[in-house]
């Protein structure tokens, strides 16, 4: 059963020609240049499948979502949709700042195509999900941005659609709220809903999706297993930044594995190996490998400390962690080699650390710990 069928879809936008921003006079129509946001894209989404779409900014992800939800029409091609489709492109887009939360729930629900009675029935669940009972009758303009976003997602999450389009909606709210969003998506999947997820959060795509597409410059470059697609996306992103550097030392490769060569997991030892080529023998060198969250923030780093000596020629720097405490997910790694404060080599997004589920934990980090239970029985104390 196929829920969404996209056949040879292309979409172009007319942009003003470069440098031509002057207002129009009669008869002098602006010169336009054509920008192809999508070219000949074909794919399908089967019923009950969760498809992820990844790709760099400007690769056509948002255009694709807009086409599927009917916001704009394609230039060529055809899209067939079987079922009620709801899209959560940006939560809270339809909020009226002067209306109260309750009024906005009804307005926004109606915008998303929910009948009045259905919204009224779901109101308690929505309010509960957004955790905002006491602010229900306060104008939305007085909400904190977090409350705003929570309410928006809560409304959208209670839509009764067959097909859900999610565009960057997971990047909102605090950690607890994100966890609930994941739960909600999981629940939708279990119900057999078809989900299309567009996100820069690669870990989320890998975790939630059953299949993934890689878009680049408006074309589908790769389609398949999420982890393969993400790997390819990363590799391709690095390829752009591997132009030959002029410094005295050049990094050649970065690998992560466990001591026994198995997959990297939370709670297992981690072995990191950086290979380099030095044009001269370097002393007093510091080598750092920074591990970065999918959101772009620095998570933690491996550092060699002062006074490392790199011999001329090919070599390796190895890092050993007795236990990896980072939570499962996909982290990118920056490499920096410096000598007495001077940066010799800096390679952003040089490698990819994929941490699998080992010790299942909640939160961001695993803390090494032991547990024991002690009982104070009454007889012993008396």
């Amino acid at each position: 059963m196929i829920d969404v069928q996209v056949r040879n879809v292309s979409k172009c936008y007319n942009l003003p020609a470069r440098g031509d921003t002057s207002p129009r006079l009669f008869g002098f129509l602006p010169r336009r240049r054509t920008f192809w946001a999508l070219r000949n894209v074909s794919f399908e989404i089967r019923r009950g499948e969760t498809l992820g779409i990844v790709g760099p900014n400007g690769s056509g992800k948002t255009t694709l979502i807009r086409l599927l939800s009917g916001i704009t029409a394609p230039k060529t091609g055809e899209i067939e949709i079987n079922g009620r489709l709801a899209s959560l492109v940006e939560v809270g887009a339809g909020f009226q700042p002067d209306l109260t939360g309750r009024e906005n729930i009804f307005l926004n629900g109606a915008i998303l195509g929910m009948p009045y009675r259905e919204i009224a029935r779901k109101l308690p669940a929505i309010v509960d999900f957004a955790e905002m009972n006491e602010f229900l009758d306060v104008p939305v303009k007085q909400y904190s941005s977090g409350m705003f976003v929570r309410l928006g997602f809560a409304i959208a999450a209670h839509l009764s659609a067959d097909i859900l389009l999610l565009d960057e909606v997971l990047a909102v709210g605090d950690v607890a709220f994100q966890a609930r969003c994941f739960e909600r998506i999981e629940a939708l999947r279990r119900e057999g809903k078809t989900v299309l997820l567009v996100s820069h959060d690669l870990a989320a795509v890998e975790r939630v999706c059953s299949r993934a597409l890689l878009l680049r410059a408006g074309r589908i470059v790769l389609e398949g297993d999420p982890s393969e697609v993400i790997e390819a996306y990363h590799t391709a992103s690095f390829a752009r930044s591997t132009q030959e550097a002029q410094g005295p030392v050049v990094t050649r490769g970065l690998t992560f594995d466990t001591a026994d060569g198995g997959p990297v997991r939370t709670g297992e030892p981690l072995h990191c190996c950086l290979s380099y080529e030095a044009r001269e023998t370097l002393v007093d060198v510091v080598v750092r490998v920074s591990l970065i969250w999918p959101s772009g923030y620095l998570c933690t780093e491996l550092s060699s400390g002062q006074g490392l000596r790199l011999e001329r020629g090919l070599g390796q720097v190895e890092f050993d962690c007795p236990m990896l405490t980072m939570q499962r997910g996909i982290y990118s790694a920056d490499v920096c080699i410096e000598r007495r404060g001077n940066i010799l080599e800096w390679r952003p997004r040089f490698g990819l650390l994929r941490v699998g589920a080992g010790r299942i934990i909640q939160g961001d980090f695993y803390l090494a710990h032991s547990t024991r239970a002690r009982s104070f029985s009454l007889e012993a104390s008396g």
Binding site: E103, I111, M114
Partner: protein
């Protein structure tokens, strides 16, 4: 908490409901899709209602006089026209006081002008929303028309109160105001659809519209009786359905005269054709609206 959440979507298990099938193609057929479009629009009635309510709620929120404004505006406008025109010879041809005469003309007219001005500008003020979510776009201009119609109703109650206050009889023929206003609404809705779709691309409409409305007002019997129109212009003058409707409205409410059936039929026909045309043009332009904004 979870139990509540789950309860609320238990009924939506797949296969239980009819799944609509939708095909999106580059260009829509010009007329064939109108019935389907109207059916989809009917499915979004809740949004139409919610948007109209939002407009009505927002308009007077955080204002001191609040809903009084809906009454004060036509009243103030009436006073201005009375002050200016009541002394001009030939204008007071109606048996009723000039203030009532002007009021009865102003009501349908200010509905027309408020609806068109707000609807034409309205599309752009929903830009962010329309770029994010799909809903039938005609709901935006139509909700402005509905909000203007609501203001009209309030002012209409005021007019009836004024008639009774002046000690004039309220004829049963006044009931003809309803079909007249229905036709006015259809024509204005069509105009709003057309203007709002084009305005997205050609912003001149927003600037030029007040001027055009001003001219239109004086080519419609709003502040003067229709009988004051010179003989040689009459054929052209009465070709404008709005002129007929405004005149008929006043005659029905103030003088208790039933409107001319031929004139009403003509207006209904013009209105219906105009609406179908405007609607299908709107739906054809609909998918491009977001790209143009």
């Amino acid at each position: 908490m979870n139990s509540i959440v789950k309860e609320s979507y238990v009924h939506t298990s797949p296969g239980e409901r009819h799944r609509p099938r939708k095909v999106i193609r580059p260009v829509r057929p010009l007329f064939g899709s109108v019935p389907g479009d109207l059916r989809l629009l009917a499915g979004y009635f809740g949004l139409f209602r919610a948007m109209t309510m939002t407009r009505l709620k927002l308009r007077y929120r955080q204002s001191l006089l609040g809903w009084l404004w809906a009454v004060l505006q036509p009243l103030a406008l009436m006073l201005v026209y009375v002050a200016v025109f009541s002394r001009v010879a030939g204008y007071n041809a109606s048996p009723s006081p000039y203030s009532l005469f002007v009021m009865a003309g102003l009501l349908p007219w200010s509905f027309c002008s408020t609806a068109t001005t707000t609807a034409a500008a309205g599309m752009l003020s929903h830009r962010t929303l329309m770029a994010k979510v799909y809903f039938p776009r005609e709901i935006v201009p139509l909700s402005y028309v509905a909000a203007a119609l609501f203001d009209f109703l309030i002012a209409f109650v005021l007019l009836l109160a004024m008639i009774l206050f002046c000690g004039l009889p309220l004829s049963p023929q006044a009931i003809f105001a309803i079909p007249i206003m229905v036709i006015v609404t259809v024509i204005i809705a069509a105009l709003c659809l057309l203007l709002s779709a084009i305005q997205v691309r050609i912003r001149d409409i927003n600037v030029g519209l007040p001027l055009v409305l001003q001219i239109l007002m004086f080519t419609t019997p709003v502040v003067y009786p229709g009988t004051a129109v010179p003989e040689e212009f009459r054929a052209v003058y009465w070709a404008n359905p709005l002129a007929i409707l405004v005149e008929d409205f006043r005659l029905a409410v103030l003088d208790g005269a039933a409107p001319n059936a031929d004139g009403l039929l003509y207006c209904a026909l013009v209105g219906g054709v105009f609406f179908l045309l405007a609607y299908s043009v709107f739906k054809r332009l609909e998918a491009k609206i977001v790209d143009e904004m």
